[in-house]
C-alpha cells in the first residue's frame, strides 16, 4: 500500500465501461468498485467478456465508453502497481528465453528505459521463482515446461512485479491439481499481505471455495459481492442462462453502424 493513500480508495473502479471487439460488443456498461485486499473471482460463461474486462482495465483495448481507475487514478499513472498474468496461450513458448529471463521481465516495469537489471532484481526474481517452487528450473528453456510449470513461471513473473493489484487471466486453465493448489495457496498469502487480486475463473465447482467475493459477468455485471451472497442458484441462472439476446443484438448493430458497415 502506498503511503498517504486513503484506506477507502478502491483498488479498482470502473464506471459504465463498454468495450467492443471486432465489431461485437463484449462489455456493456460495467460498473465495478473493488475494495483493497480482496481476492475476487470473475465468473461467467464463455464469451462473457471476462478476459476483455481485464484487458480493458489495463488500457490494452480501446473503450467505447466509460472510465477505469486504479487506486483512484487512471491506469497510466498507476501501472507499476498492477501485475498481470495473461493466458498461457497468449505467448510463443518456443521463444528462445529461459525461465529466469521470463521472470526478470516482471522487473522491467520498475526499471524503466535504459536501466539494466541489477543483482537486487535478480535476487527478487529468484525469490519469486522459489515461491512457486520453480527455482530448480531457472535455467530451463521455456518450451521444455509442462502446462502447470508454465503457469507458475507466469505467476512468478507477476510476483516479481511487486504490485498491489494483480489481474490474472485463467491461471487455473490446463494446470495439474498440485499446481492449482499451490497457486491458490499463493493467492491467499498475497491477500493476507493486503494485495488485491482479480482472477478470471471458469470452474464453478471450485470458484466457491477459492474466492471471498465474486463478479458474475455476462456482458454486464450480473452480480457482485461476497461469495455467499452472490453465489446463488438464481444469480447463476441469470449469468449462465441465456444471454440477453436483444441487448447483444442491438449493441452489435450499433458497433457495426459506428464502424461504417
Amino acid at each position: 500500500m502506498k503511503e498517504g493513500e486513503l484506506e477507502s480508495v478502491p483498488a479498482l473502479e470502473t464506471h459504465d465501461l463498454s468495450v467492443a471487439y471486432h465489431k461485437k460488443p463484449v462489455l456493456y456498461g460495467v460498473d465495478l468498485t473493488i475494495p483493497k485486499g480482496q481476492l475476487v473471482g470473475i465468473v461467467g460463461p464463455n464469451g462473457a467478456g471476462k478476459s476483455t474486462l481485464i484487458k480493458a482495465v489495463m488500457g490494452l483495448l480501446p473503450l467505447r465508453s466509460g472510465w477505469v481507475e486504479v487506486f483512484g487514478q487512471p491506469f497510466k499513472k498507476t501501472k507499476t502497481r498492477v501485475g498481470y498474468v495473461p493466458q498461457r496461450e497468449s505467448v510463443d513458448w518456443d521463444f528462445p528465453v529461459n525461465v529466469m529471463d521470463v521472470v526478470m521481465m516482471g522487473r522491467y516495469g520498475k526499471l524503466g528505459l535504459f536501466r539494466r537489471p541489477k543483482k537486487k532484481d535478480r535476487d527478487i526474481a529468484r525469490e519469486c521463482l522459489d515461491k512457486v517452487k520453480m527455482l530448480p528450473f531457472a535455467n530451463r528453456q521455456i518450451s521444455n515446461l509442462s502446462g502447470g510449470q508454465q503457469q507458475r513461471v507466469f505467476l512468478a513473473r507477476a510476483l516479481a512485479q511487486e504490485s498491489d493489484l494483480y489481474l490474472m487471466d485463467e491461471p487455473f486453465a490446463g494446470v495439474d491439481a498440485a499446481t492449482e493448489a499451490a497457486i491458490i495457496e499463493l493467492l491467499k498469502e498475497l491477500k493476507e499481505r493486503g494485495k488485491t487480486i482479480l482472477v478470471v475463473h471458469h470452474d464453478l465447482t471450485t470458484a466457491r471455495e477459492y474466492f471471498d467475493s465474486m463478479v458474475l459477468l455476462n456482458m454486464r455485471v450480473v452480480a457482485f459481492g461476497p461469495t455467499e451472497q452472490v453465489f446463488t442458484v438464481e444469480q447463476l441462472q441469470k449469468t449462465y442462462g441465456g444471454r440477453l439476446t436483444l441487448l447483444s443484438d442491438v449493441a452489435g448493430e450499433t458497433e457495426r453502424q459506428l464502424s461504417g458497415e
Partner: protein, 513 residues
C-alpha cells in the same frame, strides 16, 4: 498440407451446391472467351516485329495498333497477356482466400534455379525444358517450407522467406554462371527477371494456352471440391473428398501459371499477378465463384494494360507495368468497392452522422414541444438551442438541413421551426426508440437508471423496426419510460393523438393515412 496455412474463409459459407450451379453458368462465359482467343491466335502469324520498333508514332496510333489485333506480333503479345491474366487470376483467387499469398511469392522465386537448369539443358530458351525445371524447383521449394515448419521451431513466415531467398540465390549463381559461358543463346535469360511480353514466342503461347485450358477445366469440374478445400480442408477430408490430391493439383497448376507467366512478368514480380487481381476481386464480392471470375477479368485487364504501357515506353520491362496496372485497380477497389471500400465506408459514416444530427434536432424539437405539453405552434430555434446546449447558429444550420430533406419548415427567418408530417413521425420514432431502450436497460438488463440515457442517445438511431417490435413485446407494450415520460406510440407517429395541437399547426398534423 503444405505449410499449415489457415484456410478458413467466411465468404464461402453459402451452400456449396448452390454456388456450383451459379458457377457453371458463369463459367460458360469464360469458355466462350477462351474460344475467341484461340481463334485470334490461330490467325496468320507473320514474322513478329518487336513492339516498340515503330519509333515516332503518337500514343493514340500506338494504342490503335496495339489493341486492333492487326499486327501479328502484337496479337501474340495480347493473346499471351489475356491468357496469363486469366490463368493467374483464377488460381490467385484460391491463393488469396486460402491466405497463401506469400506461398505464391515463394513459389515464384524458387523457380529460378529450375529456369537456369532448364536453360542449360540445351543452351537455349526451350519453353518445355524451362517449364519442367521451373515447376520442379517451385514445388520442391514449397515442399521444403512444409518440412522446415514441421521439423523445426521456425514458423511459417521465416521458412517462406528462407526458402524464397535461398533458392533465388542458387538461381542467381546459376544464371551468372550461364552468362559467362561462351556458347549458347543467352540473350533470353535476363528477360526472365523483370519480364518482356514482346519476347513471347509462338511456343510460349501454345504452352500458356494448354495450361490455361487445363486450369479452366480443373476449376470448372472440381469447383465444389476446391471450394471445400479453400474453406475447411479438414471437414473436406471427413466427407471423403480427395483433399490432398486437390491441394497438390492446385499447387501444380499455380506453379504452371507462374512459370508460363514468368516470361512476360518476370520472376521477381510474377506473384503479384496471382495476388493483386484476386485481392481486388475479394473486395468486390462475397461469393467464391464470382471472386474467381472477377479476378480472371481483372487479371486479363491488368496484364494487357501492363503490356501496353511497356510497349508505349519502348520496351521497358513489362512486369512492373502490369503490377502497377493491378495496383491501380486494387486502389480503386480498396477505396470505392460498394460494400468494403474505405471511401465508401467513410461516406456511409458521414451520411449516418448527418442523419443522426437531423434526428437529434427533431428529437430536441419534440422535447421542447413536450415540455410545454404540446401547446403552441412551432418551436423556436432559441428553445431548441437551449435544450441541446448548442448555439442558435448551429441549430439554424441544422434546421436548414432539415428543411432540405423535407423534415421541417422554418419561418421568421429561421427563428421558428415547424415539423412536416414526415418530420414529426421521425421525431416520435426517435423519442420512442430512446425511451424503449432506456426501459429495456433498466427493467430487463437491470442497469442503474443513471447509465441508460447516454447509451440510449446512441442506440436510438440504430434500432430498426423489427428490433422495436421485439423490444415492445419483451417489455409488454409499455407506454411510460423509466422517468415516467410517455413513449410515443404508432398512433402518435401518424399524428392522431394530441389532436388539439395538431389542428393548430399549419400544414402539420392534418395528415391522415
Amino acid at each position: 498440407m503444405v505449410c499449415g496455412v489457415r484456410e478458413g474463409e467466411k465468404i464461402m459459407h453459402s451452400s456449396v451446391i448452390h454456388s456450383y450451379t451459379a458457377w457453371r453458368n458463369s463459367s460458360l462465359a469464360s469458355i466462350v472467351l477462351l474460344a475467341a482467343l484461340l481463334w485470334l491466335a490461330g490467325g496468320e502469324v507473320a514474322q513478329a516485329a518487336r513492339i516498340g520498333d515503330l519509333g515516332e508514332v503518337s500514343a493514340w496510333q500506338q494504342a490503335l495498333r496495339f489493341f486492333s489485333f492487326r499486327d501479328a506480333g502484337l496479337r501474340l503479345v495480347l493473346v499471351g497477356c489475356l491468357l496469363l491474366g486469366l490463368n493467374c487470376g483464377l488460381l490467385g483467387g484460391f491463393v488469396v482466400v486460402r491466405r497463401m499469398a506469400l506461398v505464391g511469392d515463394t513459389l515464384s522465386h524458387a523457380v529460378l534455379p529450375g529456369i537456369a537448369l532448364g536453360f542449360l539443358w540445351n543452351m537455349d530458351k526451350d519453353p518445355v525444358a524451362i517449364m519442367v525445371g521451373a515447376t520442379v524447383f517451385g514445388l520442391f521449394g514449397v515442399t521444403v517450407v512444409g518440412w522446415i515448419t514441421r521439423t523445426t521451431l521456425l514458423k511459417q513466415d521465416a521458412a517462406l522467406g528462407l526458402v524464397l531467398s535461398s533458392f533465388y540465390a542458387l538461381g542467381i549463381c546459376l544464371v551468372t554462371m550461364i552468362q559467362r559461358l561462351p556458347t549458347g543463346n543467352k540473350s533470353g535469360i535476363d528477360k526472365f527477371m523483370f519480364g518482356q511480353a514482346a519476347a513471347l514466342g509462338e511456343n510460349d503461347i501454345i504452352l500458356m494456352l494448354i495450361t490455361t485450358v487445363v486450369t479452366l477445366v480443373v476449376v470448372v469440374v472440381c469447383y465444389r471440391g476446391l471450394l471445400v478445400l479453400s474453406f475447411d480442408r479438414e471437414f473436406g477430408q471427413t466427407t471423403g473428398l480427395p483433399m490432398h490430391a486437390l491441394h497438390h493439383v492446385v499447387m501444380l497448376l499455380t506453379a504452371f501459371a507462374i512459370v508460363v507467366a514468368m516470361q512476360a512478368v518476370g520472376v521477381v514480380l510474377v506473384s503479384s499477378m496471382l495476388i493483386i487481381p484476386a485481392a481486388s476481386a475479394y473486395l468486390l464480392t462475397d461469393r467464391l465463384h464470382r471472386l474467381l471470375i472477377y479476378a480472371a477479368v481483372i487479371g486479363m485487364g491488368t496484364a494487357v494494360l501492363g503490356a501496353f504501357f511497356s510497349f508505349l515506353g519502348n520496351n521497358l520491362p513489362t512486369g512492373p507495368f502490369m503490377v502497377l496496372a493491378g495496383t491501380g485497380v486494387f486502389v480503386i477497389c480498396f477505396l470505392f468497392s460498394p460494400r468494403y471500400g474505405w471511401w465508401t465506408r467513410l461516406w456511409r459514416l458521414r451520411s449516418r452522422r448527418l442523419r443522426t444530427e437531423r434526428e437529434d434536432t427533431l428529437k430536441a424539437m419534440y422535447r421542447v414541444l413536450e415540455n410545454r405539453e404540446f401547446h403552441g405552434e412551432g418551436v423556436s430555434a432559441v428553445d431548441v438551442a437551449e435544450y441541446r446546449k448548442d448555439t442558435v447558429e448551429e441549430i439554424q444550420r441544422r434546421v436548414q438541413n432539415l428543411v432540405k430533406t423535407g423534415l421541417a419548415t422554418d419561418s421568421e427567418e429561421g427563428q421558428m421551426i415547424h415539423f412536416t408530417p414526415k418530420g414529426y413521425q421521425q421525431a416520435c420514432m426517435i423519442v420512442r426508440n430512446h425511451r424503449l431502450w432506456e426501459l429495456y436497460l433498466t427493467n430487463v438488463a437491470r442497469y442503474a437508471a443513471d447509465h441508460v440515457h447516454e447509451d440510449a442517445e446512441l442506440v436510438e438511431h440504430v434500432l430498426g423496426e423489427d428490433t422495436v417490435r421485439r423490444l415492445e413485446r419483451r417489455l409488454k407494450f409499455p407506454n411510460k419510460d423509466p422517468h415516467g415520460k410517455p413513449i410515443p406510440s404508432v398512433r402518435d407517429m401518424l399524428g392522431m393523438t394530441h389532436e388539439e395541437e395538431g389542428a393548430k399547426m399549419e400544414g402539420g398534423y392534418g395528415y391522415r393515412p
